[in-house]
């Protein structure tokens, strides 16, 4: 994605200094998804596919209104439909817009070993730079929301860019623009938090949703996509939204205490490799792998 007018504050797998590190831009951007007014119309899905010039996705009906089981490398935004029977026998049909959460502390970026393949801009947007991506898939391990997806043809990882090309020009993301009911909002994190809390209060006081609340999980430093939920104590009901997402321990260790160990091991490995070459000489060429050319 274009970085023309966006400043970077975090870079994956980067040894040196980061130009925007520790700087505070004017504001962090945020999407607010009010699940209590989402009608599951999928306008945001279509807007995402069209704006990002994605190809047609083959789908199959699978006992649900949901377009496909999960997001794909070329389908970044998906409404999840969940039927839920409450204790009093009444039914809820919960619809949640599922996409990259743009975590303040992004597990994908933490986990990524490729220098510059994942960046976080000073406005909080986490963006994949496919030019630098090595397709290792470590970002998947780091992500508590199961977002990054692999394209087996390009061998790169993809996900929602929060329409950086639009946002950097002062526009709202395509999904937000297409929403007909006003269930989607876009603005500064502070403003979105204010709106979300206000709506949650209204739901508690006037519509009988005692546990209505805002989903902005602290385990990942808060997110750039926040939800108003009818029942914030049970985010799992909304298509497996984790109640307390965190970056996996393994990723944290790999990037911090264990990183120097890894570096020593890497240098050791290289020395070993060189020694092996000196001792045994080059290996004879095997038949090259036939890579699958089939797209997902």
């Amino acid at each position: 994605m274009s970085q023309a007018t966006l400043r970077i504050q975090k870079i994956s797998g980067h040894a040196g200094t980061v130009p925007g590190e520790d700087t505070q831009r004017e504001f962090t951007v945020c999407k607010l998804v009010d699940t209590t007014t989402c009608i599951g119309c999928k306008a945001c899905e279509v807007a995402c596919v069209e704006w990002n010039d994605m190809p047609f996705s083959q789908t199959t009906f699978d006992n649900t209104y949901q377009t496909m089981p999960d997001t794909r490398w070329n389908y970044w935004n998906l409404i999840l439909f969940n039927e839920h029977e409450r204790e009093d026998g009444t039914l809820q049909w919960l619809m949640r817009k599922h996409q990259c959460m743009h975590c303040a502390e992004p597990g994908c970026l933490e986990a990524c070993p490729a220098d510059g393949a994942i960046v976080q801009y000073t406005n909080g947007v986490v963006d994949f730079q496919q030019d630098h991506c090595i397709g290792c898939g470590y970002c998947v391990t780091g992500c508590p929301f199961n977002i990054p997806k692999f394209n087996s043809v390009t061998k790169r990882m993809y996900k929602c860019s929060l329409c950086t090309d639009r946002v950097s020009q002062g526009l709202e993301p395509a999904c937000i623009k297409s929403c007909p009911t006003g269930c989607l909002h876009f603005g500064s994190k502070d403003d979105m938090k204010f709106l979300a809390e206000k709506r949650a209060k209204q739901l508690r006081e006037h519509f009988g949703y005692e546990n209505a609340g805002v989903y902005d999980p602290p385990g990942v430093g808060g997110t750039g996509v926040i939800y108003v939920l009818h029942d914030a104590t049970k985010p799992e009901l909304y298509g497996g939204l984790p109640s307390n997402p965190t970056i996996p321990l393994a990723v944290k260790f790999w990037k911090h205490p264990l990183k120097w160990l890894g570096n020593i091991a890497l240098v050791g490995g290289l020395i070993g490799l060189f020694a092996h070459y000196l001792r045994f000489g080059p290996k004879a060429h095997d038949e090259p792998d036939v890579a699958s050319k089939e797209g997902d």
Binding site: T37, V46, D62, T64, W93
Partner: protein, 839 residues
């Protein structure tokens, strides 16, 4: 709609029933959501399925398809019993206090109103009248053989009881009529448990607690109400409920029909039905011997209590009609020839949709021009329509894609040999999509909105109206050359467009708006209009041939000030969602109809925080944020009724005389195929005036034949009718048809979600994958366990997936019965019987 989309933001309470706006009107649905967000408005959804709309509602009731009248009748009963009625409104703005003829009989005993003729299966409606004096003998033209006898007229002066206590007044009859619709009866018929019904009734009527008039509630519906053999009466029940609660004419209130296509309102306004002329003027029949006869029959005279006034705006019918005939025939329409009355076709019988296909099936209709619709797929009983087309001489289809109608000859089940036998000549004409032409669209809120051409037509495609114009010019040429039996209506039709072979649509809208044919002057204001100038509105129309107007309700859409429908000023000075300079709404740019009723008798708004119009003592006029729907200088003390389009000037709780074919009050009847006998009167289960068809393709199933499951059909957000199966973007969202069935039923027949099942009615089969869901529950109907299922209508045998052989290629309407509402002629697509098995 009485109100409009944006106006819904003003409501306190919504009953959404017979419609699924979140699914089918997602953009308009922002306004109900806005009411929830800004006013804490509550939303009740009543539907056969837990829908996308139900997902954001405050309360949901699962109703058996086709039992809406029982539910709404129950609400009326509840409102009356619990004093949640608008007493002043009822007395002054409705016919609640009007005394009804002694001979009138309610259907409480045998399910029939007075006057039923068993032989003809119609009502003699003479007793469905008010008691009173004057005006009862209009000396109607003698009916021709086979025509129904002419009815007496309404009395000029109606007997009236302002206390509403006279046992024969409309209110007491209403109370008696719906006293049978108890919560227990509602449960037996609809399957909605009594406690749940009472909760919904309490919530909906809570806006009128102790008769307080401040709050307001709205009813929102769509084709879930019209697609029944008693659809008109469902909507009547809603209208009665809203009148009883004083919700009509008020911001955030009313009875609001959500139209299913972008311009279907415009189509209806421009005489989409066979029995109306543009602007809902009634067509002449063979019994009308002359223009004057016709006008006498269709122009109402006022009928009201002696002390009251009635504007009776339809008394202007001759002005609208003469101006219409001047627009059609220009100088050839003169006073001497009855304004070319003889040129107009006389409607001698029913030419409605279902009847047309029946005529083609029976060989009397020989050909069809099918533009902008997919006749085989959209009508009920698709097989009958396909069989009918096989017998036609020709079919012309103007479309942007090949569809089930243009390709009827290769519907599944037709063998190659049979294909060779079909002699119908089919002409496929590539036409223009909506973005490829300009013109106006009229939305559900009656807003006429101009649009521009976005892209040119591709390839050989042509504008639909250009094709029709060229056919007309060719026919005219033939008449000129060869004469013919009666060439006058063709040769004298006005066709003064700058490009006759492709009339610019702006010129057509100007013609519809109307112009002065001579210099005119308003005697009151001395305002002058020169001959040839566009008229500012229908108040200027004359019955002396000095004005022309293609559709009186659209007069004002294209004035000397320009194309009003093209205005795009979003400002809304009152904040009430009026947006007076955004497009133009009929009539007279009025956004809420009957808005005089938003005030009390003195002319003060019921709710000062939602002021629409009011009586200004200073100017002695009605003024307001909206255009007053009233005689501007009629003083409140004159007691003119706010419902100026009825002869009575008041809202009709009782629909007198010819207003309805099947009863002056709505009575619950079962759909033509129903799982039980009508619990109200088992000896009269169905609407008694509904007609069944008799061709071999017309069959009606019963539980005895094994058809025990109630089935309904619907549309989805992801698709637009039968078009979008040609568009990859829509296809990827919903790639194939599916049938929604309750988990319990799936268990009974041993089917899992995603496996194929076969749904059959007595007319045909539909095969698709099952969606096993908790969103439809088994119901207890009159003590019996009844399953209800439903499926969407969007697929067929032409489209991306279909052409690749991936879908079952069956049409939803292969299953639906040929039967229709006796007032609107709309087919019963919803609430028929089926059986379900593994495929």
């Amino acid at each position: 709609m009485t109100n409009g989309w944006v106006d819904m933001k003003n409501t306190d309470m919504m009953l959404i029933m017979g419609g699924n706006p979140a699914e089918n009107h997602p953009c308009g649905f922002k306004w109900p959501v806005e009411a929830k967000r800004t006013r804490n408005a509550k939303m009740i959804v009543v539907d056969p399925r837990f829908t996308r709309t139900a997902a954001v509602a405050d309360m949901f009731c699962q109703i058996r398809a086709g039992t809406d009248i029982a539910f709404l009748g129950g609400l009326i009963h509840y409102a009356i019993e619990n004093n949640r009625i608008a007493k002043d409104y009822l007395v002054n703005y409705t016919n609640a206090g009007f005394i009804v003829e002694k001979d009138f009989k309610l259907p409480d005993v045998d399910g029939l109103f007075s006057g039923f003729d068993d032989q003809k299966q119609t009502y003699n409606r003479a007793s469905w009248n008010y008691q009173g004096s004057g005006g009862k003998s209009p000396a109607p033209p003698a009916p021709k053989p086979g025509q129904p006898p002419a009815l007496p007229a309404l009395p000029g002066t109606v007997d009236f009881d302002p206390t509403l206590e006279n046992p024969n007044c409309v209110f007491q009859l209403l109370k008696k009529h719906y006293s049978r619709y108890t919560p227990e009866m509602v449960e037996r018929i609809t399957g909605i448990p009594k406690e749940q019904f009472l909760k919904a009734a309490d919530l909906y009527t809570s806006v009128r607690k102790d008769g307080d008039m401040k709050k307001v509630s709205t009813i929102i519906y769509a084709v879930g109400w019209t697609h029944h053999s008693f659809g008109t009466q469902i909507i009547r029940t809603a209208a009665i409920l809203q009148l009883v609660m004083g919700n009509v004419g008020r911001a955030g209130g009313g009875v609001n029909a959500l139209r299913g296509h972008s311009n279907i309102q415009g189509a209806t306004d421009m005489a989409g039905l066979f029995d109306s002329l543009p602007g809902y003027l009634k067509t002449p029949t063979p019994a009308d011997a002359s223009f004057d006869d016709w006008m006498k029959r269709v122009t109402p005279t006022s009928s009201k209590p002696a002390a009251w006034d009635s504007f009776n705006y339809y008394s202007n019918t001759p002005k609208f009609t003469v101006s219409f005939l001047k627009a059609l025939y220009g100088d050839a329409a003169t006073k001497q020839n009855g304004w070319a009355f003889d040129y107009l076709p006389k409607v001698d019988r029913n030419y409605s949709w279902v009847q047309m296909w029946d005529d083609m099936y029976n060989g009397t209709l020989k050909g069809m021009l099918a533009f902008g619709m997919n006749g085989v797929a959209i009508g009920p009983n698709s097989k009958k329509n396909i069989d009918a087309l096989k017998k036609a001489d020709f079919l012309v289809v103007g479309e942007i894609y090949p569809n089930e109608t243009s390709d009827f000859w290769r519907a599944p089940g037709i063998s190659t040999d049979e294909m060779k036998q079909i002699q119908t000549t089919v002409y496929n004409l590539p036409c223009a999509g909506f973005a490829e032409k300009d013109g106006s669209m009229t939305n559900s809120a009656r807003w006429v909105l101009w649009k521009n051409t976005a892209v040119p037509t591709p390839g050989d495609a042509r504008l639909d109206h250009a094709i029709l114009a060229q056919i007309f010019l060719k026919v005219r040429e033939l008449y000129k050359k060869e004469g013919g039996k009666f060439p006058d209506p063709i040769l004298n039709l006005t066709w003064n467009y700058s490009f006759p072979s492709s009339p610019p649509l702006a010129e057509v809208l100007k013609e519809i708006n109307g112009k002065a044919l001579a210099d005119l002057e308003d005697p009151a204001t001395k305002q002058q209009i020169k001959a040839g100038q566009q008229l500012p509105g229908f108040a200027w129309l004359k019955d002396d041939g000095t004005t022309s107007c293609g559709n009186w309700i659209y007069s004002g859409a294209f004035t000397e000030a320009g194309n009003q429908s093209a205005r795009r000023d979003p400002s809304d000075p009152s904040g009430m969602g009026v947006h007076p300079a955004w497009g133009w709404s009929w009539p007279a740019n009025r956004r809420v109809l009957y808005n005089r009723a938003s005030c009390d008798v003195e002319g003060k708004p019921w709710d000062p925080s939602r002021k629409q119009v009011w009586w200004s003592e200073a100017t002695q006029k009605w003024v307001g944020n909206d255009v007053p729907d009233f005689k501007a200088d009629s003083k409140p003390k004159d007691h003119m009724g706010p419902f100026i389009m009825t002869a009575e000037g008041v809202g009709r709780i009782f629909g007198p005389l010819a207003a309805f074919a099947d009863g002056p009050f709505p009575e619950f009847y079962e759909p033509i195929e129903s799982p039980i006998d009508n619990p109200l009167h088992p000896q009269q289960t169905h609407n008694p005036v509904v007609k069944r068809f008799k061709t071999p393709d017309d069959k009606y199933g019963t539980p005895k034949d094994g058809y025990t499951i109630v089935c309904t059909t619907y549309r989805m957000t992801e698709h637009y009718h039968y078009w979008t199966k040609n568009n990859p973007m829509n296809v990827q969202l919903v790639p194939e048809p599916f049938i929604e069935i309750p988990a319990e039923l799936a268990n009974d027949i041993g089917v899992h979600g995603g496996e194929k099942i076969k749904v059959s009615s007595i007319r045909g089969e539909y095969i698709a994958k099952a969606m096993v869901t908790k969103r439809i529950k088994p119901m207890i109907i009159d003590g019996k366990k009844v399953y209800q299922i439903g499926f969407q209508i969007h697929q067929g045998y032409r489209g991306i997936e279909e052409d690749e052989g991936k879908n079952a290629r069956t049409l939803a309407n292969l299953l639906t019965p040929t039967v229709y509402d006796p007032n609107s002629y709309t087919p019963e697509f919803k609430g028929f019987l089926v059986k379900v098995e593994r495929a």
